[in-house]
Symmetry: C2
Subunit: 281 residues, 2 copies
């Protein structure tokens, strides 16, 4: 990826880790974040070369690559309001967790001389903010690019390069719809499960009796409720399909427990063991 370009990251959430990784690799990175202390922190720690708490003509207009790390509705509102400032022929990308309801809309509203190629870094953490950012979260992680018919091969290639430079291990390409289906299962359903598990028992001493399996399973039950409730609603149909599919399997296992049917339990456990092996890092 060309180092003679200006990269602007509209911060929040995972943007700080992007900034760290790109700065470390020798890129000129600028940032916008509505929090003055975040910008101050990023400048002081040399995570970015410059930054501001709101979009300025100078900052936005000089960027060749713009990376948006915002909630879906904030991202769309940003484009609506500020896209006139963007330099002609700049490339835009994002980190948004749902694609179908974002990608087409942004591509449609975008000026003709700009291109938006959407991507999803699968490297979320419970803590957010540039102060907690850490570029090592990308190591060994997955990166999904979700191009549409409006995207050019060169933009897809630049997005792929960005994923490589950030340090992702596996870079895949899915349609926005395929992405939303996979993410409904892999990410949203898991958060639904962790939250429901955590709220289903009020015994105040359980932390003294637990093992690590419960801790691992509920790590994501500490959840950014503003972001995730938005993501759930925006991907409602796919999420409900996956919730129902999970419930069917859970019911199957429950029936086996009720009937003391060890054969059926062991059949499911063998299948889960075999399938889980695919996910080992």
């Amino acid at each position: 990826m060309d180092k003679d370009q200006n990269i602007l990251i509209v911060l929040g959430l995972i943007g700080g880790s992007y900034a760290r990784a790109l700065t470390k690799q020798g890129y000129r990175v600028y940032a916008i974040d509505c929090s003055p202390s975040s910008i101050e922190f990023a400048l002081k720690n040399k995570i970015v070369a410059g930054g501001a708490v709101e979009p300025t003509k100078e900052l936005v207009g000089s960027a060749d690559l713009l990376i948006f790390a915002l909630y879906p509705h904030t991202f769309i509102a940003w484009i609506e309001r500020y896209q006139d400032m963007i330099k002609p022929h700049a490339l835009l990308t994002d980190v948004t967790g749902v694609k179908g309801c974002v990608v087409y809309r942004v591509q449609e509203m975008l000026r003709d001389d700009l291109e938006f190629i959407s991507a999803h870094p699968m490297a979320g953490r419970e803590r957010s903010g540039v102060e907690n950012s850490d570029e090592s979260v990308f190591r060994g992680a997955n990166y999904i690019i979700t191009p549409t018919s409006k995207n050019t091969p060169s933009a897809i290639e630049r997005c792929r390069e960005l994923g490589k430079v950030l340090g992702f291990e596996k870079i895949s390409q899915l349609s926005p719809e395929e992405h939303d289906e996979a993410i409904a299962f892999l990410s949203q359903l898991t958060h639904c499960i962790a939250v429901s598990l955590m709220t289903s028992n009020d015994n105040p001493n359980l932390q003294f009796y637990t093992g690590d399996s419960f801790r691992d399973l509920t790590r994501i039950a500490k959840i950014n409720d503003e972001m995730w409730s938005e993501l759930f609603v925006l991907n409602k149909d796919a999420l409900l399909r996956e919730m129902n599919a999970f419930e069917r399997e859970f019911e199957r296992l429950k029936k086996a427990v009720e009937e003391g049917d060890k054969e059926e339990m062991r059949r499911m456990m063998k299948k889960s063991t075999e399938r889980r092996t695919l996910f080992d890092k």
Copy 2:
């Protein structure tokens, strides 16, 4: 805990880690394991001072403390068959994952001059066998003692000391029934969830799109089907209660997603975030 005693561990599963921890602390540890290669490995790596592939009068008869790391039915069968070999006034303990159906039965069938005090180390791992054992798994972990009216204060105290010597952080005392209820939720339900999640989607490429939340949640989907199907059946009533309670919360969240009710979602997420904080190590 008195170092002038012989400790016999009937191996399998977590027994290897017990042996490592106790040997390191200067105790004389002997082991029985039906696998010759496990005994050979334990002797060669000085994890135990001696061992055999089956109970011998010499090994069993000289132990002051016997620790059983066996499946519930194997443990009960062992006591039935070999308890005559045990030295008078020896103390017996175990690591069994269910208590109600084991503790009373073993205490009832045991010779009058022996005492069995049951305990559960909350430090399971996906891999088993003495070759994979590791005493560091006990660090920061929970240990639950489940005494009954048949237990003496001195046996409870010795069991508590054993937990301390092994390196457990928090040692609790529960009745067998309280234990089974807590474990149905904390351990068995989590395994049910991980297995059901893993079997509910057959897309063969998901490992290239996933993030760590799915990996963490399904770590325990690689499961010892023989042991866990037995544990599920032995704790059926408590497990079914917890499965139903979880389903109710999951349904509540599903309804909120269906109705786009962000307030209800966020209420549950805030509760789960707050409750999960209690479990941070």
